[in-house]
Structure formats: C-alpha cells, structure tokens
Amino acid sequence: MSDVDFTLNGETRSVSVGTTQSLLSLLRDELELPGSKNACEQGECGSCTVLMDGAAVCACLVLAADADGSDITTVEGMASGDVLHAVQDALVAGGGVQCGFCTPGFVVAAAHLFESEPSPDRDQIREALSGNICRCTGYGAILRSLEDLAQR
C-alpha cells in the first residue's frame, strides 16, 4: 500500500492505494465516483477520460500511486451544483447520447477541448474526440451537438 494525496474535483483527498492499482479502480471502487467508465483497461476506448493537471488522460492508464500531488477532475466534477457544464448541456440539447456508457469520457474530452478552443471547427472536434469510442450513436449526434456549442 502507498499513501497518496491529491485534489479530486476541487477537494483535497488522502487515500491509501495498492501498488498496482489504477486511478480508475481507485475512483470507481473506493471513492464512489463511478462516472468514469471501465471498459477496455488499455487506453483504447476513452470511457475513463479524466483531467489530470489540465491534460485529458485515461484513468485506467494512470497508476493511482503516481497520481500523488496531482489535480484530478472527473465527469462528476464537470457540473457546478445543478448547473450542467456547457458540453453536457449541448449533448442533452442535441441528443448526443444513446446508451450513455461512453458519454462521461466524451464529456471530459470535449470539455478539455473547449477550455483551450472555445470555437473549434469540425476537424478540431473530431481530433479531440479521436480517443473516445462510441458504439451506438455513430458519432453524428455527438459532433452536431458540439458544433452547435462551438457556434454559440
């Protein structure tokens, strides 16, 4: 076991983690934050995307013990109270969700894009979401929702 201190969705946390435990497992199994989804465990699907020190990364590929000192935001940290993040709002408005399993990863990846580029074009949106896989929407509704947001 190893002691880890980090900031999680704005709150300071101190936890004890296993040597080989992933950040994803820590979030879901111990910190009761199941929004980041566990699917491929190899960085292929993007469903567990979180922000770590300002970068969008796959939580399954972060060793929990190596998250010490970092600032982590999960999908649970995107909304401000009852007010959805603009990206969440856009996906709701545009129907950019079907089964919803991949949605948290898309929300975090898209929020990361809009942070640095408030009016991305279609190619920039596609590029930013290229690490996120959705098996049911065919991406069209997700892209249109975010293009609408980019034009607001």
Binding site: M1, S2, T19, T20, S22, E41, Q42, G43, E44, G46, T49, A55, A56, V57, C58, C60, L61, V62, L63, A65, D66, D68, G69, A109, E127, A128, S130, G131, N132, I133
Partner: protein, 264 residues
Amino acid sequence: MEIVRPTDLSGALEALDSAPDATVLAGGTDLMVEINFGHRHPEHIVAVRRVEELTELNGRIGACVTWARLEQGPYRALAQAARTVGSPQIRAAGTIGGNLGTASPAGDGLPFLAALDAEIELHSAARVRRLRWDEFLTGPKQNALAPGELIHSVVLPDEIPTRQEFGKVGVRNAMVISAVMVCVARFDDGRTRVAVGSAGPTTLRVRAAEEMISAESSPGESALAEFQRLVSEGVNPITDHRSTADYRRHAAGVVARRLLERCL
C-alpha cells in the same frame, strides 16, 4: 519500497540502485496495460515523471518528453510520428523513453531515431553510457538496458537533416498500431537515410536503398522506382494479426518512395 516518486535524477538513480529489479513507470500507456491485464505484477516501481531533467527538450530529448510535446516540434518527422501515436489521451501521457523501454518493433518514434542515428543515454548510480539506437534495440521488445539503469535521454547528432518525413500505414487514423511505417531523411548534399518500423524484429535501416539514392542528386523516375524496389527488398516483415508480410513489404517501398519525393 513499493513505489518511489523521485523528483530529481539522483533520487531516481538511488532508488534503482537499491532495487535494480524495480519497474520504471513513465507515462504508463504500456506498463499499465500489462498490469491491468495481469501480465506484470511489479513489486517495486520507480515513477519518474516528476524528474525534471528527464522532461528537458533542448538539443536532446529527455526520456519523459511526451508525444503531445513532440507533436509541437522541433523535429518535423518526429512530430509527424508523434501525431500518429494513439489518441490525444495517450499522447498526453506516453513518452519517447517509454517507446525505447518497450522496444516494440511498432514503436512510432523509433524510425526517426534510426534515421538520424540517434544515441540513447543511459544512467545508473555507477555510470553513464551512450548506445547507438541499433545497439540499444536488440530484438522485439528487447533492449540493452541493464538492471539499475535508467533511460535518460535521446541524443541527436549535431547535423540534423533539413528534409525529413514520416509516414505510417494502419487501418484507421486514430488509435492504431502501424502495419508499417517509414522515416526518410535527406541532407542537402543528397545523403539519404531510410528507416522502417513494423517490418522486422527491430526498426531497421535499408542501407542498399540509402547508398543508391544518396548518389542521385536529382533522382528521376527510374531512380525512384529502384529506391522503392530496394526498400521492399531490404525489409524483413512477418505476417501477423495486423498485416501480412507481403503487404508490409510492398507498403514499405511505396511509402518510402512517397516520403523521398516529399524530401526532394
């Protein structure tokens, strides 16, 4: 020791000296997959991403420089290669040192290092040594790293070819491991290098093609065709779940020729 998170080089080397069997963790994009799938169970981990010296990109490339940074330059072909690595999430975490540590024949950064005859600088508590890329990469997923040693940086030669291009063939644009990839570099005096990945047990150079095309100051159609043929002839691919040996051989020549044309 279970995990050590050194913030400077001496701390990292001390940790590796006291536990030479420790596993080094940089971006985690290779190691965590092996851990998640139960293929590796490291008892001692030295996490090196906080070591500032390893993140330097200034004449040399520190082992912990990420693909996201390399995408921004300054090396054109390496930036092109970096942009083909995984996805934005992978590029934000994965490092060039990890590519060397994993030593996969499909390491996207390796053809550039081969084309430039880069050296790999290895540090341990006892010594510093440099190995040329082909002394370091010894086989598929095998390298010359000794117990207690850390991949410190990539050292590039003083003379960087002004024209350099990288190309990769895979089944889609994002999140793909290459079927074959090529880096072509050409100096102003015509000297040309061609390195191919995913087409042999390690990244390889095709010396016969290099010699032939280096003697051509302005290659015409027949020289380009001969270059393509020599590259195809000079690779050593296998058939696996990603592609066939025949396709890889063919594609290596075609891609090499296209990249050379862009260098002219």
